[in-house]
Amino acid sequence: MDVIRQRQQVDVCIVGSGAGGGMAAKVLTEAGADVVMLEAGVMWDPVEDSAMLAWPYDSPRRGSATPERQFGEFDAGLGGWTLEGEPYTTADDDDFDWFRVRMLGGRTNHWGRISLRFGPDDFKARSNDGLGDDWPISYDDISPYYDAVDQLVGIFGSREGLPNDPDGHFMPPPQPRCWEQLIKRSADDLGITCIPSRLSILTQPLGDRVACHYCGQCNRGCGTHSNFSTPSVLLPPAMATGKLRIIANAMAREVTVDDRGMATGVAYINKSSGREEHIRARVVVLAASACESARMLLNSKSEHFPDGLANGSGTVGKYLTDTTGTDVAGFIPGLVDGVPHNEDGVGGAHLYMPWWVDNRKLDFPRGYHIEIWGGRGMPGYGFMGGIHRFPGGGGGYDRDLKQLYRAYYGSVVGFSGRGEMIPNEDSFCEIDPNVVDRWGIPVLRFHFKWTDHETLQVKHMQETFRELIEHMGGTPFGSMPGAENGYGIAPGGRIIHELGVTRMGDSPRSSVLNSNCQAHEVKNLFVADGGPFVSQANKNPTWTILALAMRTSEYIAEQSRQGALG
């Protein structure tokens, strides 16, 4: 195959345009570096391409899923659990679903903007309970970067002084909706901490970005740049430096190395032409998503690195975790026949529940936070589906049924637990020896097992959510799943928080990266996505990906200035 080799060498090649790649591009271009960013998907512009303010009847499918947009046709995220021409495999008996998007901004286009800092205990969890590993950095090392991310990106929240849920530089949070206040009243009665959400959505103007207009559709992509996505927040300043070149439809395949074992650039498939091309770079930053970056390293074999690049420890692909999750919804008679009003609010809940229990009283380690949902949202595909399952007589037909839909609209609330998985040796990804994707690139094979640590935690979620619903005077839909079903734990990958497959550590024997997310074995190679995480914590990872990527990028800039990267 012809390979087009660029003669010109750039300072940095970044693989991926999501949270980590976008932050690296911003920091490094502003530090003066010439940067090329490879994106495997298409260009995407939240102003031109968003379905914000579309009505369900604007489309004949009323917002339902398509193979290209598996969270619904109005969702920004172009991708899903399967991608045409890009398979992955799972080991026998293991369930793992891998969510990928292929677009500028990556998965920052599809998320709930839940922007939680990890706390001091999260970085030193092994010291507390003997499980997993401590990070090689502490909360104090990363907190200045969390501060900077807060101020750069914008976040709302409330100052609570909770020891392991540190406060940030918050804009004022939106007032809770009615149904959220009812949930809080029950949570207060049951001793469950319930506080304003911490979402990266602007409630005040920030720079040239306007405040939220409360259409509740963050997931469609914000046409006013009022929430966080890489194309809205991080790429415009990077482009403004004139030093960023974005190459879309570029499927990165391999990090190339020279005979000293230093990275020399990235080989990629130009998906438009089908030809392989190559970017020469002094520094390579992988931010392709945790598992995709691990896949690239494992596929980058050479004389120096026969088991894959930077894999002397054999830990590339190991320590794969996802967030634990389960959901319970209930019918709340006290919410029937609501007073019609617009409660769209921001695109997400205005309240949430951080972890609140002392583990010494429990039969599982670590914890979870609770996300809540409900309300009189815009009708969409699946609207009030399963009306026959409403307690106290659902279903029917005719005029009574029509009246039932009106009365029950807004009478359902739901709870989603999102908790911490402990890394285990049965959960990892590797290269499938037999399968390649449509470009001939070997694909990942996943191994994934939950342990009692996770299923007992999910049992606690189920019990708690049912108690909350019943305390609200409601009835949960369905009975509690049993132990044989893992108490309703979602399959691995389904919460879309894969982390840890290129983890950081002090020892090159047990980790891929050092505490600056620099490969132990290749000093001009860095990872800036969820791969470096040593533990999950019970917090959504994006804010930590952003803070780590900022810290790593500042380190790259400083080391480059000193000539220390090659």
């Binding site: 579309a54 369900p56 998965r107 009615c178 740049h225 403004a240 009003h341 769209d344 809940a349």
Partner: protein, 230 residues
């Protein structure tokens, strides 16, 4: 980067709002686009030829959806809202729905032939009501799940909402297949009706627009006992 891609990235920069306000022209444009789409749909409906349903199936669908959601004092019927056209589109868009739909309609006709000696559309009104009375309350077994449950529009989440398992009721053996079909059909009817402009107006949904959220209105808070009666 191609020139086209570069232009789009530059456009992305340029489109960041310079003033701290949404441009009204953009709102008007969005409204125009959706109105045009609606008018096109109405125009298409006037001469609608089903692409999935046979003529007989389509007649059955039109009768069924109006029995489920008839016109009343607040809004029109399911056929007024274009539910049959919507269903026909969904069958072509999501092939996995085709066999359950086709087979379910066939089950209804078999049952009617056995009970009343005629196919559903040819049965007397009281016979049609009698059959629906047997199918419309309860559900046959735990595997009968709505396709895409969306009880509360939790689509803002970055996480997957795994489906919610109902408590199984004792199966009604001789009618279980009909009940399973009817539950799916009623769900699809509801989506088709309530997601139209007619349905959304009926529900008094007041969002999907620019606003300033200042908290829940007092009238609602009083109704829920969250503030004292005045």
């Amino acid at each position: 980067m191609t020139d086209l891609d570069r232009r789009r990235v530059l456009g992305l920069l340029a489109s960041a709002p310079a003033a701290l306000a949404w441009r009204p022209a953009d709102v008007l444009l969005a409204g125009d686009r959706s109105r045009a789409a609606r008018q096109a749909a109405v125009a298409a409906g006037a001469v609608y030829e089903p692409r999935f349903f046979t003529a007989h199936e389509y007649r059955t669908v039109r009768v069924l959806v109006d029995l489920i959601l008839p016109a009343d004092e607040r809004s029109g019927s399911a056929t007024d809202a274009g539910v049959p056209e919507f269903m026909d589109f969904m069958m072509t868009d999501q092939e996995r729905q085709q066999v359950p739909m086709r087979g379910g309609l066939a089950w209804v006709d078999i049952e009617c032939r056995e009970r009343y000696g005629a196919e559903f559309v040819d049965c007397a009104s009281e016979q049609q009501h009698e059959l629906l009375g047997l199918l419309a309350w309860g559900y046959p077994d735990a595997s009968d799940q709505p396709e895409e449950l969306d009880l509360a529009q939790s689509d803002d989440s970055d996480d997957d909402d795994s489906s919610i398992r109902p408590t199984p009721l004792p199966p009604v053996s001789s009618l279980s297949h009909g009940i399973a079909f009817f539950n799916r059909f009623r769900d699809l009817t509801a989506t088709g009706f309530w997601t139209t402009e007619m349905g959304i107006t009926d529900l008094q949904y007041d969002g999907n627009r620019f606003t300033r959220w200042r908290g829940c209105p007092d009238e609602q808070l009083r109704k829920r006992g969250l503030i004292e009666e005045a």
